[in-house]
Amino acid sequence: MVAKKSIKLLVVFVLALTSFTAFAQDDTVENNLIDSPEEIRAYIAHHLKDSHDFHLYTNNKTGVHYGFSLPVIVWTNDGLKTFMSSAFQHDDNGTVIVEKDETKLVKYHSKIYELENNATSLNLDEAAHPTNAKRVIDFSITKSVFGMIFTGLIMLLAFGGLARGYKKGKTIPKGFSRVLEPLVIYVRDEIARPNIGEKKYRKFMGFLLTVFFFIWILNMLGLTPFGFNVTGQIAVTACLAIFTMVIYLVSGTKDFWAHTLWMPGVPYILRPILAVIELVGFILIKPFSLLLRLFANITAGHFIVMSLIALMVTLKASFGPVVSTGMSLVLALFIMFIEILVAFLQAFIFTMLSSLFIGMAVEEHDEH
C-alpha cells in the first residue's frame, strides 16, 4: 500500500518537474541532418556533456525539438535568477537572450553567460570564447543533477521499503524487496566481509551499499534513450572517490599510520622514502585511479555506442543505406549488451576497491 502511494508521488514529482515542451526554431533549418565527420564528433561531444534540458528528438522537416525543459537557477551580479530552460528555446549558440530584471543571460555551448550591461549580442574572440560576457554561478537542475535526484528517490523508496519490512519483524521480504535482499547480501558477503574483516565491516556497509547502488542505477540510466551521462562526469566520480578517501583516512587505525609513516622491518634510510611513497599512494593515486576508472569506462562506453550508431551515416556513401544501418544496428546492439555488463562491473569494482582500501586502513596487525 505504502509503496504504491510513494510510486504515485514519485510520478507526480517527475511530471511536475518536467513539462513536455516543443521548441520551434526561428531560422527554419535548411538541413539539420548530421552527415559530416566533424558534425558527428561535435554531436558525440555534446552528448557526453551535461545539458540544461532533455533533448529527445528533432523533427527535421519542421525544425521542432521535442524534449523536457528543466529549471535554471543562476547566481548573477544581480542576485538569484530562476526560470525554466525552455526560455532559451533550445538555443546553444548564444543568440537567444533571456532578460530577467535587466540581466541578460545567454546559453553558449551548454554554459550560461551573463552579458555586460550595454551588450546586445554575444561577441566571440578567435578561440570562440565570449568577450563581452562572463560566467554565472550555476546551480541549475541540469540533466545530471536530475538523474542523481531521481536515483536518490528510487533508492529511498526501494530500500526504505526493505528496511520497513525488517523493522516489522518480517524475515522474508515481500514484493520488490525480495529482489533487493540478495543484492544487499551479495555486497555484504562478497565485497565487505572478505575485504574489511568480520569485526569491522558493519560500520562501512551503509557507505558501500549506497555507492554500489548509486553507481549501478546511474550507469543503467545512462543506457536509456534519455542520454544521462552522470557517472561519465569527472566531477561526480571525483566526489565519490573523495568520499572513499576521507573514510579510509579517518578510520585508519594506529597500525595503519605506523605502517604508512614509519614502516617497520625495513632499513632506517628507506623509511622516509617509503613514507612519501605510501602517503602519495593513499592520498593521491588510489582516489585518482578510482575516479578515473569509472569516468573513463562510462565515457568510453557512451563514445563507442555513439560512434557505432554514427556508422550508419559515415558508411552510407560506400555501402548504401540498408547495409550501413544494419551494420550499425547489430554492432550497437552487441555493445549495448556489453555495456549492461560493464554498468554492473564498474559499480562492483568501485565498491570492491573502496572496501579493499578501507580494509587496508582498519586492519590490525599482530606483533611482528
Binding site: 562478497e190 572478505p194 585518482f288 585511479s289 578510482l290 578515473l292 576508472r293 573513463a296 569506462n297 568510453a300 562491473l345 562492483f348 569494482i349 570492491m352 576497491l353 579493499l356
Partner: protein, 62 residues
Amino acid sequence: MYNLIGAGMIVIGGGIGLGMIGSKAMESIARQPEAAGKIQTAMIIIGALLEGLAFGALILGK
C-alpha cells in the same frame, strides 16, 4: 600522430596484460574448480587495476 601511436601501444600493452590475467585465471579454475569464485574476484580486481592504468595513460597521453 604520435599520441595516436602511443594510444595504440597502451592498448596493446593492456590487451597483453588482460590476456595473461584471463588465461592464468582460466587455468587455475580448471585446476581447482571449487575455488572459481575467489579466483574470479581476484581476476576482476587485477583487471580493474590494469584497466585504470591503461585509461589513465590514454587520458593523460591524449
